[in-house]
Amino acid sequence: MLIFERGVKGRTATAQAPLVKAEATDIPDSLMRKNKAALPEVSELQVVRHYTNLSRKNFSIDTQFYPLGSCTMKYNPRGAHRVASLPGFLNRHPLAPESYSQGYLASVYELQEILKEVTGMAGVSLSPMAGAQGEFAGVAMIRAYHEKRGDHERSEIIVPIAAHGTNPATAVMCGYKVKEIPVLNDGDVDVEALKEAVGPQTAGIMMTNPSTCGVFERQIEVIAKVVHDAGGLLYYDGANLNAILGKVRPGDMGFDVLHMNLHKTFATPHGGGGPGSGPVAVGERLLPYLPTPIAGIEDAGGEPDYCWLGEEALPDSIGRLSAFMGNAGIILRAYIYALFVGRDGMQRVSEFSTLNANYMAKKLADAGFDLAYKDRRATHEFIITLSKQAKELGVTAMDFAKRLLDYGYHAPTTYFPLLVPECLLIEPTETESIDEMDGFVDAMIQILKEAESSADLVKGAPYTQPVKRLDDVKAARELDVSYKP
């Protein structure tokens, strides 16, 4: 039942609005609203109950193992949430003077320093509000760099075929054409194809490493040389940074710019689809182009004095990407997470996420599932392909995914990357215990047995959720995207 349907005309949650209804006689009638907005008319208890119960219809990290590949669904420390929710932080106006901002600015500045160190880059801007905006900022900086040098012929961004959809979409938003290059059977980029693809038209390449195939790109240094030699720059998509955090630094691999997904690698809550935060880090060459604002420091001896660096300080910046300075609350949470984890903890993140992924991969392989890249080490995630099961039993990756819900596990990412058929991309993260992983593997084995003995059971799943499989075609054809009373 929709919240609207719980309402009746005239019902209100009285305590929540001013008790007196003030006059507004000085506004001309023609500028006043004619028809009242058809918002819900409900009591406070109804709202609390409705949304509490809605929340109970979700899977989440706090309730389930959620091995969604490429999404890094790790534990979101409650302490980070608590600290970021201190009234002093929640009530600060984004345009408050620096005299009322030192606490926030100190935290932001220190996070910038931490991110520089852990990525091996020379500068950081925290302002992009999500991974995709970070990508945009990164490619826009590549563009600004070429333009500043008067190199106007570079019109193409190279993207391996396994890349996230945001990569090509971003390149287009920055006014580039996209050239896709193939990936070999072992998951590495086809370097020969890359060599053919590069040229004076090459602005840069967008890559992740480890790639979305869940393997480390072994030719990364060759790739960097090929692209750099052609005059292009290397963009690192930080979606998979969790796999190498503190272990290998993008800067050391030859990347010129990268974004990070703080909501993944730095464990801030995903919130059912956001907010995220997608800071960018750059090498020396791109420093002048970082998006504004950035936290700076004026060290006049004694206590440091923090300040905002804007257009004046960075005249060649690609500019501002949000009205204020990005998803501040997420930035704070990431900073707090970094304080929790600390210097030594950074590489533990990659070590234990890698250990977990390799463990699960091995257990699943032993149970008869096909790994997509079985001769490779898994990184923090790995892919199994259910092509055999789809062919022999008629049970697809989607069916396995839906049936897993009945067993109380969120499904891994399905059908991504696009180049592996019937695949599940599985990322356990470092915060899950062996017990949870064993439970998941047992469920997969059980589902395989079910698929063998009663395929329809699996194909009809899920059975235990608030709804069964939904009619997506109807959703698109008979578009109903808002309630009409």
């Binding site: 609207f4 949650a13 929540q16 609005a17 003030a22 500028l31 907005a37 819900p40 008319e41 406070e44 609390v48 929340s55 302490g79 600290v83 201190l86 002093g88 009530n91 600060r92 408050a96 009322y100 901002s101 030192q102 606490g103 926030y104 160190e117 991974g131 905006q133 826009a140 945001t166 996209v178 480390f216 995903h270 919130g271 059912g272 689809g273 956001g274 907010p275 501002r320 990407l321 009205a323 501040a328 609350g329 704070l332 929790f340 950074m346 070590e351 234990f352 463990y359 080490r377 839906k402 991504f416 009809g460 608030p466 709804v467 069964k468 939904l470 959703a475 698109a476 995207v481 808002s482």
Partner: protein, 459 residues
């Protein structure tokens, strides 16, 4: 190892299963010379207790002022229930609802959100949110250019009274696609967009006209005339609106003869704390005909195998994960958690409650304007009908006056001097429903004291 559950025994068991000697061996495909060294610039780990202490002190540093700054982010009362429920683990720690059956909570909530935004804006459809109001406007511009079949132009007219930071953000985002923003000068007396200023653009090809209501100065534009003019010129109309105000004043869907085509804005006033600028959320609504040009996620209502009502992501063919380089935008995440809070806020307040908030803001603002008329030397120069902000001209350096007021614990407003040479020593002052009579008197007092202090200094 904070947050990592592995015991030594677990590790041994797992390595045995894998057939590896050590965790380090799992990284043997990575060239050794690429391995990172010690990360000395990162401080050592701290316990939650230590972090709480450190950060409480920092939060304390930023606290305590009475805030009269608005300029795109507004202090409102947020019912306790809003974040109590929005931060339930099931909402807060879920991912994008890709597995619809296991995400009906988030999906239904977003459907309800979309419904509320269309109700408030008076338009037909809404998406699941964008990053913030400013980047939302950039998406609206891209959308309008795609959607306007009557125009091939990549130029867009924008009222000079639109938030200056929004203009910057839009430019950052769209300029690489050779899109040009052409700014319409505003009337520096009325601080509104004079329809006569548009005359010079008549007959030119623009994809859209962007208007803000209330505008950046808190003043109400004659949106009906502006909208009708743009439609006559075959432009789409993009309205930048404040959702609180929309409960009281004419919403985009009611502008002019046919209503605006697209409405965008900052969702922050709907239950989102100021929080240093984010996470907020941008909203975007449009007429039904434009729905397939809308960027970002959209949730639709449908049925399951048993015919039972359910909710799912829909029209995904517009999005990057399907369309890749041909998508309507590269946007992927929305601002789900903020939307969750806003949906609860709008449910709790309803039309009646939001309107009461809007009216209280308006009345308090006028009350402060009234009090200021007794302060010698200052002048409220935005005299037209306003919502909850006004422009105040000071007899001294606005920068210095604001600094002096801040020392007294009053953030007196947002300085306009740097951005608008015509508005020297002017500040933009905002008063919401949160301010009491005592607060207003506190404002006046801090202002008078500051002016006096500056008087003395100059002697």
């Amino acid at each position: 190892m904070p947050f990592i559950p592995h015991t030594e025994e677990d590790i041994q068991k797992m390595l045995e299963t894998i057939g590896a000697q050590s965790i380090d061996q799992l990284f043997d495909e990575i060239p050794t010379h690429l391995r990172a060294g010690a990360l000395d610039a990162i401080p050592p780990a701290r316990s939650e207790m230590e972090i709480m202490r450190l950060m409480s002190d920092r939060a304390e540093q930023d606290s305590g002022a009475l805030c009269f700054i608005g300029a795109g982010a507004y202090e409102h009362h947020i019912p306790a229930a809003v974040w109590d429920i929005a931060t339930r683990g099931e909402f807060m720690t879920a991912y994008t609802p890709y597995q619809a059956e296991a995400s009906q909570g988030t999906l239904q909530l977003i459907y309800e959100f979309q419904s509320m935004m269309t109700a408030l804006t008076g338009l037909d459809v809404s998406n699941a949110s964008l990053y913030d109001g400013a980047s939302g406007l950039a998406e609206a511009v891209l959308m309008a250019i795609r959607a306007n079949r009557k125009s091939k132009s990549k130029r867009v007219l924008i009222a000079g009274t639109v938030h200056p930071l929004y203009k910057k953000v839009v430019n950052s985002i769209v300029h690489n696609q050779q899109i040009e923003l052409v700014e319409v000068a505003f009337d520096s007396t009325s601080l509104t967009t004079d329809v006569s200023a548009l005359a010079q653009y008549e007959g030119e090809d623009f994809a859209a006209l962007i208007i803000a209501q209330p505008n950046f100065f808190g003043t109400l534009e004659d949106i009906h005339q502006l909208t009708d003019w743009a439609h006559q010129q075959k432009m789409l109309v993009i309205g930048v609106v404040n959702p609180t105000a929309a409960s009281l004043i004419s919403p985009p869907g009611e502008w002019g003869e046919n209503g605006a085509d697209i409405a965008v804005g900052e969702g922050q006033p709907m239950g989102i704390p100021l929080a240093s600028g984010g996470p907020y959320f941008g909203f975007i609504c449009c007429k039904q005909a434009l729905v397939r040009q809308m960027p970002g996620r959209i949730i639709g209502r449908t049925v399951d195998l048993d015919g039972k009502e359910g909710f799912a992501l829909t029209l995904q063919a517009r999005e990057q994960h399907i369309r890749r380089s041909k998508a309507t935008s590269n946007i992927c995440t929305n601002q789900g958690l903020a939307v969750t809070a806003a949906t609860i806020y709008m449910s709790l307040l309803g039309q009646e409650g939001i309107e009461r908030v809007a009216r209280a803001c308006h009345a308090n603002t006028n009350r402060l304007v009234g009090l200021l008329s007794a302060v010698p030397g200052v002048e409220v120069i935005s005299t037209g009908p306003r919502f909850h902000e006004f422009v105040l001209r000071l007899p001294k350096s606005s920068r210095l006056v604001l600094e002096h007021m801040a020392v007294q614990g009053v953030l007196g407003g947002h300085d306009l001097s740097d951005t608008y040479p015509d508005l020297e020593n002017c500040i933009l002052v905002c008063v919401t429903e949160t301010k009491t009579e005592q607060d207003l008197n506190g404002y006046v007092n801090a202002l008078e004291v500051s002016l006096k202090e500056l008087e003395t200094v100059e002697c």
